[in-house]
Subunit: 442 residues, 2 copies
C-alpha cells in the first residue's frame, strides 16, 4: 500500500457487522498470534492434532463408500453420484448422526429433523437467520458468550441480550427477568443460546436438576433453547455424563447444535443441527424446522460437501457410531492437560498469599477452558505485552462480553498444547502477572 | 403428520425469505422431479457425471499433499495441519486458483485477493452480505436471473432490480436508466450481477466490444460488476474465447465469482471470489475487499474444508492449473449434446409451420442451456402435467423473473443427459406442446 493508493470502498459503506468488535476481535487475536509465532499459545481452542492422520481420511472415505453399497444397497453409480454430484440439501450422513445421538446421548431423533452443515458455525448462522423475522426480534445468550454466536447474530442484524451465567451455568431468575424486560420494551426474545457442557469460555457446566428447571422455564416463557455442545464428550471424570437438554426435551423446545470439529476433524468442516420443531407453512403444510433451515442453506452453501460428510461418516461407522468410543485417546490427552494446568496454577499461585488481590481460577469438570481471575483489568494491550515481553498467548475474557466494561479475567485453553508447553506457558503467565502488579503498584 | 399435531412455529414468524418464491421455487422443482423419477430430465443443470471417479478423489488428495511437502517445503506435520486442522479463512488453494486464472483466463490476481468459498453460492452470499449496508441499498441483476442470486439477495434483505438482458446479454441503455431511476428514488445501486458467458438461464453471451462498453459505463456510474462465470469453459466452437470482464478490468470494477462445480466436481463444494477492491477501514488501514469477505465468512462457515480444497488443488496440479486442459472430455460431451438438442428441435419444429404461433429457441454458443419460446404461458401447472402425462421435465422460465408476469418460455438443459435421452425428451416435449395447443384451441 502506498499513501496515494486509490481506495474503492470504505468499511462504513459495507454491512455494519464489518466494523463491529464481534467480528474484528477474532482478527485481532489471530494477528497477535501471527506476530509472535514463537509464543506458547494457551489461547487456541483448536483440538489436539497429535492423532491427525491423512491415511485415516482415505480410509474413512472408503468405509463410507462401502456402507453406501453394502449396507444401503446403492448401485456403484448411485454411490458415486451421492459422493460427487450435487445432492440432498439436508445432507447424506443424517442417519449416522441420528444413530450417534442415540448411542452417545440417548437422544431419539428422526434423520429428517437433521441438517448437516458446514461446521457448527453454519448451523448457528442458519438458525439465527431463520429466527430473525424483523427488527423487534432479539436473541438471549448466556454471558460470557462464544464469539462465533455473537458474530453470526451481527450478520443477521439480531441483537444479543446477555443473560447472567453465574456458578450454575445459567441464572434462571435473570433469564426470566430479561425475557420480561425485553417483552416490556416491545421486543420479541426468539431463543436463548447456551453451552450446558464445559462452556466456551467459562468452562462451567449445568447440573441435571438445573437443566430440568431451565426446560420448565423455557416452556412457561415459550422460548426456544439453542443448545451448543462441542465439548460434552470430554469430561475429566468417568461415570455418567449429565443428559443433554435435547435428551430431556419432551416439548420440542430445544434446537441442538452439533460439531464434529473436536470429535473427528476440524478440516472436514462438518456440523449439524437437530431442528424437530413443527413449522406450519402459509399453505397449512406442516414440516420440521429443519426443512426451513435447509431452504436457507440452499442459498448460503447449497449442500455440505458430501466428500467431507463421507469422512465423518466413515469415522462414525468405524466406531459403531459412538464418538465416545472414537475419542478415548483424545479425552485422555485433554484430561491430562486440564489436570496439569490446574495443578500448575495451584503451584504458582498458592492460596492465601495475596488476600483480596489473589489470582483465582475455575476448575472445570471437563472441556478445554480454564478462566483465571487477576487483580487488574485484562485488555488487548496486556495481551500484546504478554506476547511480546513474555512469549505467552491467552484470550482476554472481555472478548466474550458484548460491552466495553473492563473484565479482570483471561481464558486459558489446554486443547492444543503438551504438558511441557503448559509448564512454560504458566511460568510466563506468572511472570506477566508479577510484572503487571509491580507496574500498577509502582 | 396428524390433524391434531401441535405446531411450534409458523413460517410467518420466521425470516420473510422463507415464504418467498425465490426460495420455495427451487423446492417445487425438486419435488416435481422426486415425484416423477422416471421422467427424462431436461431440467437439471448438474454436470455430466459419466467421468466422475472416486479413485481420482483419493489421487487428488495425495497430489495436493505432495505439493505441500515437495513444492512448498512444508514439514509433514505442517502439511497434515493444513489439511486437517482449522485454518486460513481465505483458504489454502488460492495460489493455484491465481495460477489457473492466469493460465486459462489471462487474469492477473494476487492470491491475497481471493477467498475460497463453499461453492460459488457462498461467494455470492458473502458479497451481497457485505454490500448490503442499509435499507436503501439495491442490487441490479440482468434478467432473467439465476435463482441462487435472487435467493441469496432475499436472505440479506437486498432488493433485486432487473436490468434487461436482451440479445446482447445486457441492455446498457436500460442499465443506465435503472441506475438513474434507483438514485432518483433515493436508493443506492451497489452492483450489477451478470453471467457474461452462456448465461443461466438465457444461454446468451456478451461479445468483447459490448463487454468493454459495459466496463466503461460501470466506471462512469461507479458501479461494481459481479461477474459469475460457471460455464465459460464450455464453448461449442474452437478458437479464442472472449476475455472475461475481470481480464479487461483495469479499474477494479469487477468482483469475479468462480465455481469448480462444473469444471472439477460439485461434491467438493468449492468456489471462490476474486475481490481486489481496496477497502479503507475506520482506522485508515487499507486492504482488499477479500479481507472483509473473509471476516464475514468466519461467522458463516469459518473456512472452506481444506480436504475439499485439496481435491480441487490436486486436480488443478494434475493439469498444470489449466481447467481448459482438464475438461476436454467434458467439453466434447456438452458440445455434442447442445448440437444434438438444437438439431432435434429443428427437426421437430420445422420453420414456417405455424407462423406467429411457432415454437422458437435460442442457439447458444456454449454452456448448458437452451431457451424454448412457445405460443402459450409456461407455468408450474404445465410442468406438473408435463411430468405426469408426458414424462419430461424442464424449467419454466418464469422462475428466473422476479415478478409474476406470465412467461411463454421454458429452459432446457443438456448437461446431465445422453443424446438418447435428449431424443426421448424432445419427443415428449413435442407431444406436450401439441396437447397444450389443442387444449387451448379446443
Amino acid at each position: 500500500m502506498t499513501a496515494t493508493e486509490r481506495v474503492d470502498l470504505a468499511v462504513a459503506d459495507l454491512h455494519p457487522a464489518l466494523g463491529d468488535p464481534a467480528l474484528t476481535s477474532m482478527n485481532f487475536l489471530n494477528e497477535v498470534s501471527e506476530r509472535y509465532p514463537a509464543a506458547v499459545s494457551l489461547a487456541a481452542g483448536r483440538p489436539y492434532e497429535e492423532f491427525f492422520d491423512l491415511a485415516a481420511v482415505h480410509r474413512h472415505l472408503d468405509t463410507f463408500h462401502r456402507h453406501l453399497v453394502d449396507d444401503l444397497g446403492h448401485r456403484p453409480e448411485q454411490a458415486r453420484r451421492l459422493l460427487l454430484q450435487y445432492g440432498r440439501t439436508k445432507g447424506i450422513v443424517h442417519h449416522l448422526i441420528a444413530r450417534n445421538l442415540a448411542v452417545d446421548e440417548g437422544i431419539t431423533v428422526d434423520g429428517e429433523d437433521i441438517v448437516v452443515t458446514v461446521g457448527c458455525q453454519e448451523a448457528m448462522f442458519l438458525v439465527l437467520r431463520a429466527l430473525r423475522a424483523g427488527p423487534t426480534d432479539v436473541l438471549l445468550a448466556v454471558a460470557p458468550t462464544y464469539v462465533g454466536l455473537t458474530g453470526a447474530a451481527r450478520l443477521v442484524d439480531l441483537p444479543v441480550w446477555p443473560v447472567a451465567g453465574g456458578p450454575s451455568g445459567i441464572d434462571l431468575a435473570d433469564l426470566a427477568a430479561q425475557v420480561r424486560r425485553a417483552r416490556a420494551a416491545g421486543l420479541r426474545p426468539r431463543a436463548c443460546y447456551l453451552m450446558p457442557d464445559f462452556a466456551n469460555p467459562s468452562g462451567v457446566s449445568i447440573d441435571t436438576a438445573h437443566r430440568r428447571r431451565l426446560l420448565e422455564l423455557a416452556g412457561q416463557e415459550e422460548l426456544l433453547l439453542l443448545e451448543d455442545n462441542p465439548y460434552g464428550l470430554f469430561p475429566v471424570d468417568d461415570g455418567p455424563r449429565p443428559p443433554t437438554l435435547k435428551a430431556l426435551d419432551t416439548a420440542r423446545r430445544v434446537v441442538y447444535l452439533g460439531s464434529f470439529a473436536k470429535t473427528v476433524l476440524p478440516g472436514a468442516r462438518v456440523g449439524y443441527v437437530v431442528a424437530d420443531q413443527r413449522v406450519a407453512g402459509p399453505d397449512g403444510r406442516v414440516g420440521p424446522f429443519a426443512d426451513q433451515l435447509a431452504m436457507i442453506k440452499s442459498m448460503v452453501t447449497v449442500n455440505t460437501s458430501p466428500i467431507a460428510q463421507a469422512v465423518i461418516g466413515g469415522r462414525l461407522l468405524e466406531h459403531g457410531c459412538s464418538l465416545v468410543a472414537a475419542n478415548t485417546r483424545e479425552r485422555s490427552a485433554y484430561t491430562r492437560n486440564l489436570r496439569h494446568l490446574v495443578a500448575g496454577l495451584a503451584r504458582r499461585f498458592p492460596p492465601g498469599a495475596d488476600g483480596a488481590a489473589a489470582v483465582r481460577w475455575t476448575v472445570p469438570a471437563g472441556g478445554f477452558f480454564v478462566v483465571v481471575t487477576v487483580p487488574f483489568p485484562v485488555d488487548d494491550a496486556l495481551l500484546d505485552r504478554s506476547a511480546r515481553d513474555h512469549g505467552v498467548l491467552w484470550t482476554p475474557m472481555a472478548h466474550f462480553y458484548d460491552d466495553t466494561a473492563p473484565v479482570h479475567a483471561l481464558r486459558l485453553s489446554v486443547s492444543a498444547v503438551t504438558p511441557e508447553q503448559i509448564d512454560v506457558g504458566l511460568d510466563r503467565l506468572a511472570a506477566l502477572i508479577t510484572d503487571e502488579r509491580a507496574r500498577r503498584a509502582g
